[in-house]
């Protein structure tokens, strides 16, 4: 049984719209499902229809054994009875209420105690502030807290980091990870950022022009060029999570799974033990067939080749770090390099990367 209950989340929706409309169907047992795709793909429409804010949407939405709508059966719960926690892209904080007032504005009794949620999201000190005086990251957290306190059975997060600049995302992403791990509420998360989806979601549903074009675990679905190129101009990024074990001399060292250590750029004001999430582009990883001494690049990570996938003129090589039991990463190579080095599945290699090729996505201080 999944978090959502037996059968998980089922979405089968048809929403008329000016740009061809949306016709999506997916089912997922994952705790956090990402809806990924370019703008205009219909992601927000799906979220609004699940929340009950699209009166003309038709189809079926079911969470566990609760049917939220079913056009054939004539069931359509009004928004106030759907028990969803909605975080819209523009937040929609109530301007006439302060922080605590917004967080406690739910009409459903018996939700999370607001004081605790404010504490978890680092908002306790600003309970009495007017929402108009908050920074972007603070407003984001207030809207998230409000959604959490409404006793939701399903969280609907629409680009929860989209409106924030990069340094701020780094600070807010850990809050989302904490909410995911602490409250374990089934979540549908809309994002056009592939790295964000990987950092947060167990499963991703890819939308394009109102249709589902792929679905599966993010690390499997997203590296495909057909998928990531839909939304992300940076190219596919591998996302890795680890603990900070040492800092100094211009690098920080992270230990990720399987005992693998990464050298990444220094992380500001963070002590050993902090949880850090980093991203590295598939094309910024090099493959060496031997130990190659005398390199300035700070990362030389043993890995074992998994699958090789041809994508256009390039080859997407999947490798597992360590002895083959570590996190999986994708490396983008030319077909010529693959042929010259004789790269094939099962072969032990080294992945080489400069520490500066890693981008810090999230930092959470050790408790």
């Amino acid at each position: 049984m999944s978090l959502a209950g037996d059968g998980g989340l089922e979405v089968d929706l048809c929403i008329e719209g000016p740009r061809g409309g949306v016709d999506v169907s997916f089912r997922s047992e994952a705790a956090m499902v990402g809806l990924f795709g370019p703008s205009g793909a219909g992601k927000t429409s799906v979220l609004e229809a699940v929340a009950g804010l699209r009166p003309r949407a038709r189809g079926r939405v079911r969470l566990g054994d609760r049917v939220l709508m079913d056009s054939e059966l004539g069931v359509r719960l009004p928004p106030e009875r759907r028990e969803v926690g909605y975080l819209p892209q523009d937040l929609l904080l109530f301007p006439h209420l302060d922080v605590a007032g917004n967080v406690a504005s739910s009409g459903r009794p018996g939700g999370e105690p607001t004081a605790r949620v404010l504490d978890v999201l680092g908002l306790s000190a600003m309970e009495r502030r007017a929402v108009g005086t908050l920074s972007g990251g603070e407003r984001q957290r207030v809207a998230l807290a409000r959604a959490l306190c409404s006793r939701p059975r399903l969280l609907l997060l629409d680009e929860p980091l989209g409106a924030l600049d990069l340094p701020l995302r780094r600070r807010v992403l850990p809050y989302l990870m904490r909410v995911r791990d602490l409250y374990r509420i089934p979540t549908l998360l809309v994002s056009h950022d592939a790295a964000e989806v990987q950092a947060l979601c167990d499963e991703v549903v890819v939308l394009k022009e109102g249709r589902v074009v792929a679905q599966g675990p993010p690390a499997e679905v997203l590296p495909s060029e057909r998928v990531y190129a839909l939304a992300d101009a940076r190219g596919y990024e591998n996302v890795l999570e680890g603990r900070l074990v040492a800092t100094g001399d211009g690098v920080a060292r992270l230990r990720v799974k399987a005992g693998v250590e990464l050298a990444v750029p220094p992380v500001e004001a963070t002590g050993v033990g902090a949880r850090v999430v980093v991203a590295v582009r598939a094309e910024d990883l090099l493959v060496a067939t031997g130990p190659t001494p005398g390199l300035s690049a700070r990362n030389r990570i043993p890995a074992r080749i998994g699958r090789l996938r041809v994508a256009g003129g390039a080859v997407l090589l999947e490798a597992s770090l360590g002895e083959g039991d570590g996190p999986r990463v994708a490396v983008k190579l030319t077909a010529e390099a693959v042929r010259d080095l004789g790269l094939e599945a099962g072969r032990a290699v080294y992945l080489v990367a400069k520490s500066s090729s890693f981008r810090i996505l999230a930092v959470e201080e050790a408790p």
Binding site: P78, E80, E83, Y86, P88, L92, H96, R108, A130, S150
Partner: protein, 222 residues
């Protein structure tokens, strides 16, 4: 100043305040209804509500007089009780409330139309039904515009003459408000007293309209 003017001054304020209190609840409800997009018959309702703006106030007064007369729809014979409105200060309240209603409805409607409907949708997802959304979100979000509506209604009621004089008469000390007192003073040629009454109405009008301007200018601000 002629101390005797204090009586119509007090009566004016009393009548206008009561008329505002009487008219504001229906005005807020009508403004809310008229601000809804999908309302059947909205044009008809809007026209009905706006009628007192266009009709001669004396016509409205005469209509009320007919309604409240012994054989009228709201008269003693129809209701079985005597509302005791004709030629009393309460009659002036009713006449002023009717005349102030269109202005209050218009302002309330504007206030509700300024409320972002997405905020109301947000409140729905938080578990609030339509009535709870209206009372706990829409009205508080529109509160500045609604306060302006109340002040405008109060101001309009202060100046009411035509309907009031027909329903309540012009009885010194009982139904004679400042507006009626000015008319009376001119009729009897007491220009000094008329001028003093004029000065009082100017001061009152200023006191009422100044905050309206502030409320409407800062509307939307938290």
């Amino acid at each position: 100043m002629d101390a005797a003017l204090l009586v119509p001054l007090a009566l004016s304020v009393q009548v206008a305040a009561a008329a505002t209190a009487l008219g504001l609840p229906p005005a807020v409800a009508l403004g809310w209804v008229l601000a809804r997009d999908r309302l059947p018959g909205r044009a008809l309702l809007q026209t009905l509500v706006a009628l007192p703006l266009v009709l001669p106030p004396t016509a409205v007064g005469y209509l009320l007089l007919r309604l409240l007369g012994r054989k009228g729809l709201l008269g003693t014979e129809s209701l079985g009780v005597d509302l005791d409105l004709l030629f009393t200060w309460k009659g002036a309240v009713l006449a002023s409330a009717v005349m102030a209603l269109p202005l209050m409805v218009q302002a309330a409607r504007g206030a509700f139309e300024e409320v972002d409907p997405r905020l109301e949708s947000m409140a729905r997802t938080l578990g609030h039904g339509p009535l709870s959304v209206a009372l706990r979100f829409t009205v508080p979000l529109a509160r500045r515009g609604l306060a302006a509506a109340a002040l405008l209604g109060f101001g309009r009621a202060l100046g009411e003459f035509g309907a009031t004089v027909i329903v309540a008469g012009n009885i010194e000390g009982r139904t004679q408000t400042l507006a009626l007192a000015i008319f009376n003073d001119i009729q009897v040629g007491d220009e000094a007293r008329a001028s003093q009454a004029l000065g009082l109405t100017l001061v009152l009008a200023f006191l009422v309209l100044l905050p309206v301007e502030r409320l409407l200018r800062r509307r939307g601000a938290p």
